[in-house]
């Protein structure tokens, strides 16, 4: 399999959700990657659409960047609905 590159596989389930990463397959090319992914990850109606992406084409954030990337959103509590306290009379909003 050494000459068969690795592809990451994303599947969209029936209910209109986003494509979701499910795993990976080796294949000679993209088209075969779709066929292999179909065989491996959708044997029981798990999806209605498949994306495959060469694993080497994916750029990922690194765990060391966790703080600079994600900490700034922590102190912005005003971005959450629960931050805004309203009187009971307003009811559900």
């Amino acid at each position: 399999m050494a000459d068969w590159p690795l592809f990451e596989v994303f599947i969209r389930s029936k209910h209109g959700l986003n494509h979701k990463h499910v795993g990976s397959v080796h294949a000679a090319d993209r088209r075969m990657a779709i066929e292999n992914a179909r065989e491996l990850y959708t044997r029981r109606n798990e999806g209605v659409s498949i994306w495959v992406v060469p694993a080497s084409e994916i750029t990922a954030s690194s765990p060391d960047e966790k703080e600079p990337l994600f900490d700034p959103s922590n102190d912005k509590v005003y971005r959450h609905a629960s931050f805004y306290k309203l009187p009971k009379e307003v009811g559900h909003m």
Partner: protein, 328 residues
Amino acid sequence: MYAQLVETGSNKLKTLDEMSPEERQFQERINDEIKIEPKNWMPDAYRKTLIRQISQHAHSEIVGMLPEGNWLTRAPTLKRKLQLMAKIQDEAGHGLYLYSSMETLGADRDEEIDKLHDGRAKYSSIFNYPTLNWADMGTIGWLVDGAAIVNQVPLQRTSYGPYARAMIRVCKEESFHQRQGYQILLTMMQEGTDDQKAMVQDSINRFWWPALMMFGPSDENSPNSAQSMAWKIKRHSNDELRQRFLDQTVPQLELLGCTAPDPDLKYNQETGHYEFGEIDWQEFFDVVKGNGPCNRERIEARRSAIDNGAWVREAAVAHAAKRQHRAA
């Protein structure tokens, strides 16, 4: 149990104080049930142990197709044949989910498969027993996949993210395996001739003990367990899982109207558990070391599948190159 003997490289646990800062942070993350993901720092021993464990597990799924493949062409009806084929295809899938999660640790799939073929890597002892009659297809689904389920359900919470997620997919598919197996036996016992019923009992007699051995050595002979449990790549001890399996299986055995080849098997009113006789550990270690009834045949079958399939893989690459050339 699909990974019965996994060397961790250490049989003494470090305390948090003895750990380097990185290692300590890693262990605390595990203690807090936060998953370890591929890009996170991890101790070398954790990575190596996991590669060993996941590859053993994957090899077991792949080699595990062989005993059942033996009966595909002789299934008694088309319906049974289709069911068995679907079950075997799932096992191929399990192997592939696992190899794919193993690759996230930086392991090379071909290299790990080479280790299987030259005897450096193990797979579950259970697949080194022959399948001699049709009832064996039922017994394997019921007992072997049943034992696999008991082992794999807790692994859905294992500390390594990609392994845990592969286990979730696997577990979703396993209950079909066990039910189709049990139904084969039930049909033979309820609608079969005397000869067919005898076949079921014979099959249970042969697979009973090997199924119990699937959980690996007894706890006092599992020096690597403490480290694996601390890393949460193993969540219950071998004996604990074996007992769980036995407790759920004996009532199913009775419902079939069959017996176990164990004169010491009995229910203990006080503990609420079944007690069983001594496992033949000599047999277990012989099979694990490569001297079971079918070890050589199994590895030979795997090797020739890879070798004889080489031209297909090469042709696929050539075809892909041609297609790309045409498109350019």
